[in-house]
Amino acid sequence: MAPSLLHPPSQLSPGDALQLSQQAPSVLQNSASTTSSSPFNALLSNPETADQWVQHENLLLSCLRTGDEVAANRCLEKLLARFSEDNERVMALRGLVKEAEAQNNGELEKVLHEYDQILSNNNTNIPITKRRIALLRSMGRLSDAVSSLVQLLDFLPTDAEAWSELADLYLLQGMYQQAIYATEEVLVLAPNAWNVHARLGEILYMAATAPGAAGGSYQKYMTEAVKRFSRSIELCDDYLRGYYGLKLVTNKLLKNTGKASGKSDEGEFTLPDTKTTERLNQLATSKLSEIIRRSTARETGWRGYDELEVEAARKLLSEEASAASGIER
């Protein structure tokens, strides 16, 4: 899929980002005349399109990613001219550019100080609050970032982006319970997001296999992980990540069937019996191999898979195949 300037560039590979940032001169030139306020120029130049400023924002992000600071600054100037500098979103982008250009920690501290000043004037400036938290995280001050984020979520509990960032921060510190709670909050806000179900399944699997996990919680986490991955597949039946996770979890369950004993509490999920687990494993394996086969053959309708993900799936299947053949010998 060719990268486009209409989508935010956070998911792009480095090659795609470079390609986008090289479009900078043409995009900037096209919109050169719209910032003039004389009516004569306004009549002659192209009228604003709906996507134009979204493209500018994404171009700015791509340019920063590839290090093209000159073009990024020019994008920023255009945005400032069109939307005044009191606009919260533009303020956040400006801060982002300053952070990217900062050479050392002292300059980053200065930017942080500026954010604090802006927030003391107006503490409902959400983009700046989020920018500040991101800066704290990139400076390595994770506990400060977490506490600021918790404060933000106290008065804005319906922001799914903030909850997922919190889950990520907790995961970085190994606090699995809290990460699970935060990801569940994301799910409450977006109940049909299959990628979030898969993410929660992954976190549960990590929590179950973490060293030091107690015996009872292992079973609880693994059970719920199976269910989360199944739900994500139910919502999107071509989801590679869901099948991958399901295969990992069912492999582990089948290997350790001895541990899956003991009653579960009232109202908790029960571990599926061995037969169901085996069938799930088979389903995952067959679907994964189908995805690998068809996506490498580049059949129509199967080309959307990310190369790295398909590669990882292939490795998983081949490891299992070699392990099985090793046992048979």
Binding site: F155, E184, V188, V226, R231, G267, P272
Partner: protein, 260 residues
């Protein structure tokens, strides 16, 4: 029985150029002008402070948990339910905890809701004034004669409104003066405005709103709503919710669907 004689009146063919066309043009132009005037006069949405945002969003969060509770496992849901119910009942999210028992502020006297009402009044004014001016202009310049004949019959009562300048006893009510053309245009130019100004324009919305003056729904966070009662109501809703999880039996569902 004698046939009622069909009344024919010979009309000047230049009527079209001198009357219908100017009135239509003036109405379209004032509609466009009204649209741009409304856009320019529109006030920015009110900035809320942190406490107000907190109050509103916490309620939305509770509603979200209730509607999407099926995503959670029973234990997670119970934990959240207990936390939220305790917070709601103790008024932890209220903006003004001291005013708990009192009635909500009267929308007339509450300064925070004034801005919203002023905005509505301004829109009404922008609607009323041009229409009044056009009507008086038409009555001044285009009265005293009839210009068109409707293809369907009407009752006599319409004569007083639509044949305003021509006081005759026997003339068929189907004959209309220019003021009636004004009324026809008023209701009929909506599609022209949609074409010229896009769907969401202020010129046609007024007429739509006038048609839709049905029962007005109570707003969730508008003036005159008591947040404490909302919180308590939400706490009760959460308490009576029977929880089921979408994750129960998800494996069987998945396996049976996959076979198909």
């Amino acid at each position: 029985m004698a046939q009622v004689p069909v009344q024919t009146i010979h009309r000047d063919p230049q009527l079209f150029y001198w009357i219908l066309f100017p009135i239509t043009l003036v109405m379209i132009l004032t509609g466009v002008l009204r649209h741009y005037a409304t856009v320019l006069m529109a006030t920015a949405p009110k900035k809320l402070d942190q406490k107000t945002i907190r109050e509103q969003r916490s309620l939305l969060h509770g509603i979200g948990v209730r509607s999407n509770a099926h995503v959670l496992s029973t234990s997670s849901f119970n934990a959240r339910r207990d936390a939220l119910t305790t917070a709601y009942e103790s008024g932890a999210y209220l903006k003004d905890p001291e005013r708990r028992g009192q009635a909500p502020p009267n929308p007339m006297s509450d300064p925070s809701s004034m801005d919203g009402m002023m905005g509505m009044m301004k829109n009404q004014m922008a609607m009323i004034i041009p229409n009044t001016l056009i009507m008086s202009w038409i009555n001044a310049f285009f009265s005293g004669y009839v210009i068109m004949k409707l293809p369907f019959p009407l009752t006599i009562k319409f004569k007083s409104m639509l044949q305003a300048g021509v006081a005759t006893k026997d003339m068929d009510p189907r004959w209309m003066s220019s003021i009636s053309w004004y009324f026809l245009c008023f209701f009929g130019l909506q599609s022209v405005f949609n074409f010229l100004l896009g769907n969401d324009n202020a010129a046609s919305q007024m007429a739509q709103q006038m048609n839709q003056m049905g029962p007005q729904q109570a707003q969730m966070f508008g003036p005159g709503v008591d947040p404490d009662k909302q919180f308590l109501g939400e706490a009760e809703n959460l308490a009576v919710l029977e929880h089921y999880s979408v994750l129960d039996n998800v494996e069987e569902r998945l396996l049976s669907n996959a076979k198909l």
